[in-house]
């Protein structure tokens, strides 16, 4: 028996890490859109939710889990791209409140339409891995094959996004379009297409997150499945800094772990209160986010 792995502290850290990776991915998807288009996307939970319903509709046609996931990603690409082209593009350059109001409205519409089509009852999705925690000498450790799948997928997605932005030509163009759209156009970069691509990419990160959340045996898929998670992802993005993808991920992971400790040592109802308190304190100390450099947008 290894008392360390089954200790209360390690159990909380591992349990929090799983949620933290999910919050980090939501925060990352918010930051991707904010950095590229300056829009705070309040429908960032609802758009992937809708794509996940669309993708998993294939279950009725006897497709398995993985083909459905691919279908979810394709649906996410389409929803992200169409939203940018048809809805968001008209809002660039308008007062900041306009896209916020529109995206909150879009969130409400998507959740209502999803409920009308697929009902509000939780829909259980097939899970590719067991959600039962592994045990060491009869004591459970806070890890199951499914949580390892969640953490590994989350880290893989974050790494892929980092590699895309840091080391590829496409990433360089995406970054340039975000910070200096006019200069980018003068250099021949097709900024309009890249903004659409940014929304598609961000929605796909959201779709993968939603698939992970809703294929958990204990959660299932509902039209509101991402609402609570979006709130924590939003808090993580604000604490980490909306300009900083790495900051958003780190803040998401730390927030997940902190939540787990609060749940364990205080009370589950205190989680959101403490998360909001953390947000308020961090915004008072560093309004632009803990990890945002002040010079980042200087051109």
């Amino acid at each position: 028996m290894d008392p360390f792995l089954t200790s209360r502290i390690v159990t909380d850290v591992l349990g929090g890490l799983t949620n933290g990776v999910i919050y980090g991915m939501v925060a990352l998807s918010l930051v991707l859109i904010w950095r590229s288009t300056g829009v705070l996307n309040f429908a960032q939970g609802a758009m992937p939710m809708f794509a996940t319903y669309v993708g998993f509709a294939l279950l009725s046609y006897h497709f398995g889990y993985w083909p459905c996931v691919v279908a979810c990603i394709i649906a996410g690409l389409l929803i992200g791209g169409l939203t940018e082209r048809l809805l968001v593009r008209r809002l660039y350059g308008k007062p900041e409140i306009n896209p916020i109001v529109v995206m909150v409205g879009f969130l409400i519409v998507l959740e209502a339409v999803a409920a009308a089509i697929w009902s509000s009852f939780p829909r259980s999705l097939p899970s590719p891995f067991s959600s039962i925690d592994w045990q060491l000498a009869g004591k459970p450790i806070a890890l199951s094959p499914f949580t390892v799948y969640e953490i590994a997928t989350g880290l893989l997605v974050m790494t892929a996004v980092a590699v895309l932005f840091r080391f590829t030509k496409l990433g360089l163009q995406l970054r340039a379009s975000a910070v200096a759209p006019e200069v980018s156009r003068l250099l021949g970069v097709r900024v309009g297409r890249l903004l659409t691509l940014g929304w598609m990419l961000s929605t796909v990160v959201g779709v993968i997150t939603t698939v992970l959340v809703s294929s958990n045996f204990f959660t299932g898929l509902t039209p509101q499945v991402m609402d609570g998670i979006f709130a924590f992802g939003f808090i993580a993005a604000a604490i980490g800094g909306l300009e900083s993808p790495v900051g958003a991920i780190i803040a998401g992971i730390l927030l997940g772990i902190a939540n787990q400790f609060v749940t364990d040592f205080v009370n589950q109802n205190a989680v959101i209160i403490i998360a909001l308190a953390l947000l308020i304190v961090s915004l008072m100390i560093r309004p632009s986010g803990v990890f945002t450099k002040r010079t980042e947008r200087r051109v």
């Binding site: 340039a176 156009r185 003068l186 021949g188 970069v189 051109v299």
Partner: protein, 235 residues
Amino acid sequence: MITIDDLTVSFGAVQALRSVSFVAETAKITAVLGANGAGKTTLLRTISGLKEPRSGTIRMDERNLVHRRTEDIARLGIGHVPEGRGVIGEFTVEENLRLGAMMAKVNLQQGLSEQYEQFPVLGERRRQHAAKLSGGERQMLAMARALIAKPSVLLLDEPSLGLAPLVTAQLMHTIQSLCDTSDLTVILVEQNASSALRIAHHAVVLHVGKVVANDAASVVAADENLRQYYLGLVE
């Protein structure tokens, strides 16, 4: 060669350019001079497609550039170094150059080597963020980023702005040698008329959006009225 014919550009009711016509010859430097508000920057922005003209045409050889997108105009071989230089401060020197080389069919490593040879200080600072460069170095980076794509036309908007006289002289020398050693067509917008006239082959003087002189640079430089009333050059 860039041919501008009867170009009129408005901002609402205000006409920024009024029936502007001139030709910028291949392998020559055409200086566009005039006081603040004369319409010089608007002219370059209109050539690049950042501003839509009300009427008139802009031709690059036989192709009309009007109503084309900025990115398509850039891909036709027009490099534009905007006022304030437009280097991306959060990118390294090399990332700025890579971005410039991306749309052109040029070998990146060869292009980088050429630019580092032309502007050695950029090679020394290739890993530094552009925000940390001095004003002169930023100007060099902006020019190198435009040149790495091997444009056939280079639009330079106030390259000497904020630079020390010695740095300005070096910059003008660089522009002149670029033009001498290639088929590059340069349209050089400058408030520093004396520096620009020293290296330009042709000069166009704008005054509140209208062309008041369009002649060889030596002729414009020798015209006392132009020097005194439009260029602020008093002996």
